[in-house]
């Protein structure tokens, strides 16, 4: 009896991610969701610019590689011309919350019926560890070598909280993948984000608090602990928006 195997929605291409990086876990959760919903044949994914730029090689569904930050606009085009297809984007914090913030906010406010997987590891990984819009106050990066000075660089952006102020979005949840319990919750959230789209409910964004051992300068284990100690206190996990549940509660 097979009890564990690679999801069909992942290709056989070896992932290029650094040892200890949690992109691999998140890719797997996305692929499991696609498999469980049986939607691989109708799904089109949009890869970002950043560490996950080559996600198009890893998912078995049709894929588009978008310009930096533009994935929600590309996904909007795809969904508008193929409303029956399932469209998702997979984006990092620089991509989604810095250069692509306008595309993110407007896709959310239009309640585009798409799914966004937002990987927040508080740093630009691909370019070698620069300050991200989500880097923590005091966090040392290549471009904040003395620690993020909020008087100069401003404060980190809490994307899930900010988008939840809009009337548009259907579902917004922040999860993490730094321990088994969190991974299981992340799995549920990602599955729901895809299911919402299948059911035509609208814009779902899952923010996944992630790690970057390489550019944080930590061992993988220490990086997982740092998520608990530093990241989650600034980025609390939880459901920030669930329109369907909120409406049901109002009616109930």
């Amino acid at each position: 009896m097979i009890v564990f195997e690679k999801p069909k929605a992942l290709t056989d291409t070896p992932l290029h991610y650094c040892p200890g990086c949690t992109h691999g876990i998140i890719h797997r959760l996305v692929a499991e969701a696609i498999d469980e919903l049986g939607i691989e044949g109708t799904t089109v994914g949009v890869a970002p610019v950043g560490c996950s730029v080559m996600a198009y090689d890893y998912f078995s569904c049709d894929m588009v590689e978008a310009a930096h930050g533009r994935a929600p606009a590309v996904a909007t085009g795809l969904k508008r011309c193929m409303p029956e297809n399932i469209i998702f984007t997979y984006q990092g914090d620089g991509d989604l919350a810095s250069i692509g913030m306008a595309e993110t906010v407007h896709a959310a406010t239009r309640n585009e019926n798409i799914t966004i997987i937002f990987v927040n590891n508080a740093i630009y990984g691909m370019t070698g560890g620069q300050m991200a819009p989500t880097s923590l106050p005091g966090q040392v990066t290549q471009t904040s070598p003395y620690g993020r000075d909020v008087g100069v660089a401003g404060y980190p952006i809490r994307v899930s909280e900010m988008l939840s102020t809009l009337d548009g979005p259907e579902y917004i949840e922040r999860v993490a993948v730094n321990n088994v319990k969190n991974v299981r919750n992340a799995k549920k959230a990602i599955l729901k984000a895809f299911k919402n789209q299948v059911e035509g409910k609208g814009f779902s964004l899952i923010e996944v608090v992630s790690t970057c051992p390489t550019n944080w300068g930590m061992t993988p284990v220490k990086a997982l602990q740092w998520v608990d100690e530093k990241m989650i206190p600034y980025y609390p996990l939880g459901v920030y928006r669930d329109k369907t549940a909120e409406n049901a509660a109002k009616e109930g």
Partner: protein, 352 residues
């Protein structure tokens, strides 16, 4: 033949695009092309199409990229400053070998410039515009009828060669009203096996992409693309030749400048100056051979442009600088009069 109706140039583009099977339009308001968006906003919901006012020109062109990747006919339109914003997306569309139509109803620049007609985006349109090795197919209408006809042509060429096309008009073309016939178009279904519409679990996944980290692979895609460009240059050059049979002088002008120049050519002929006009309709591919032949026939050229002189470089290149090329130009939204063009033709005739 379809009945003629009186339409603004911008509206003719929009209706022609719909006739050509375009059902997806993304744009952002900017003068002097906003009538295209307004027309699409009215029509698209009635015919099951998409009209979406994007949050920016950048978002609009990336929505176009998405639809183009799925293999459906799609367009955006803007005017000069907005088209500058689109350049990133246009480069990606070119790099991913996708068909799409971008309309630029030009206004004066640089910067915010003005809102009056201009042709000063010639360099941007014909030499690439964004980063990297690429061209667009660039069509330049000189009447409202051509606004419609070349829109349809642009979709066909773009599909045929998997090269994004640009309709390079100007504020006069966009705003003026003329009678136009909008015939029904037989939209040929072109196979697009590369499109991302879902694998249906029946094939390996398609990837729409312009990233090639291995330099030899990137070089190969650029070589392949330039082979298609060579075919376009060989097969798709369009131009109008006016009174060139016995011409000793040649005016080169496109769009509104060509219409003004025609009057000047006729006036010069009345004065006994044997002058003709070559009007490039495709700006890329440029009618290089036609100009080269003319260089062996005429004593000199006048390039008439609503810019500080951009096309003149291509006229000089095409004629191998065999004959003098004078510039007759106004810019910033100003338009040369036929008398100004005539004066330049006379200057050429007096000095050659």
């Amino acid at each position: 033949m379809a009945d003629k109706v009186l339409m603004k140039g911008n509206e003719a583009i929009a209706e022609a695009a719909i006739k050509a099977g375009c059902r997806h339009y993304f744009g952002y308001p900017i003068t002097p092309q906003t009538e295209i968006a307004a027309y699409m906003a009215k029509r698209m919901p009635k015919i099951g199409g998409t009209f979406l006012q994007a949050e920016s020109e950048i978002a609009a062109i990336n929505m176009v990229y998405g639809v183009a990747g799925a293999g459906f006919r799609v367009m955006t339109s803007s005017s000069s400053p907005g088209v500058s914003l689109k350049q990133e997306g246009i480069s990606y569309i070119a790099g991913a070998d996708l068909p799409a139509l971008i309309v630029n109803v030009q206004r004066g620049g640089p910067g915010l410039g003005g809102i009056q007609p201009s042709q000063s985006d010639y360099f941007q349109a014909t030499k690439g515009g964004g980063h990297g090795d690429y061209h667009l197919i660039v069509l330049a209408p000189a009447s409202v009828q051509e606004m419609a006809d070349l829109t349809i042509k642009a979709f066909d060429l773009s599909d045929k060669y998997r090269v994004p096309a640009m309709l390079l008009a100007d504020g006069t073309m966009g705003q003026m009203m003329e009678p136009v016939a909008l015939p029904d178009v037989d939209v040929a279904e072109i196979e697009k096996p590369w499109a991302v519409r879902g694998t249906k679990n029946a094939r390996k996944h398609n990837i729409v992409n312009s990233l090639y980290l291995k330099p030899d692979e990137l070089e190969k895609t650029n070589f392949e693309r330039y082979e298609r460009y060579r075919q376009i240059e060989e097969n798709e050059v369009m131009y109008e030749s006016f009174m060139m049979e016995d011409a000793e002088y040649c005016v080169v002008a496109f769009g509104i400048a060509a219409r003004i120049s025609k009057n000047a050519v006729l006036a010069a002929r009345n004065q006994g100056i044997k002058v003709g006009l070559i009007r490039p309709i495709t700006l890329w591919p440029f009618p290089t051979e036609v100009i080269a032949k003319a260089a062996d026939q005429v004593k000199g050229f006048v390039s008439v442009e609503l810019s500080m002189g951009q096309m003149i470089e291509d006229v000089r290149l095409a004629s191998s600088c065999k004959k003098p090329v004078l510039l007759c130009n106004r810019t910033g939204g100003m338009i040369p009069t036929p008398e100004e063009v005539l004066a330049k033709i006379s200057e050429l005739a007096d000095n050659t």
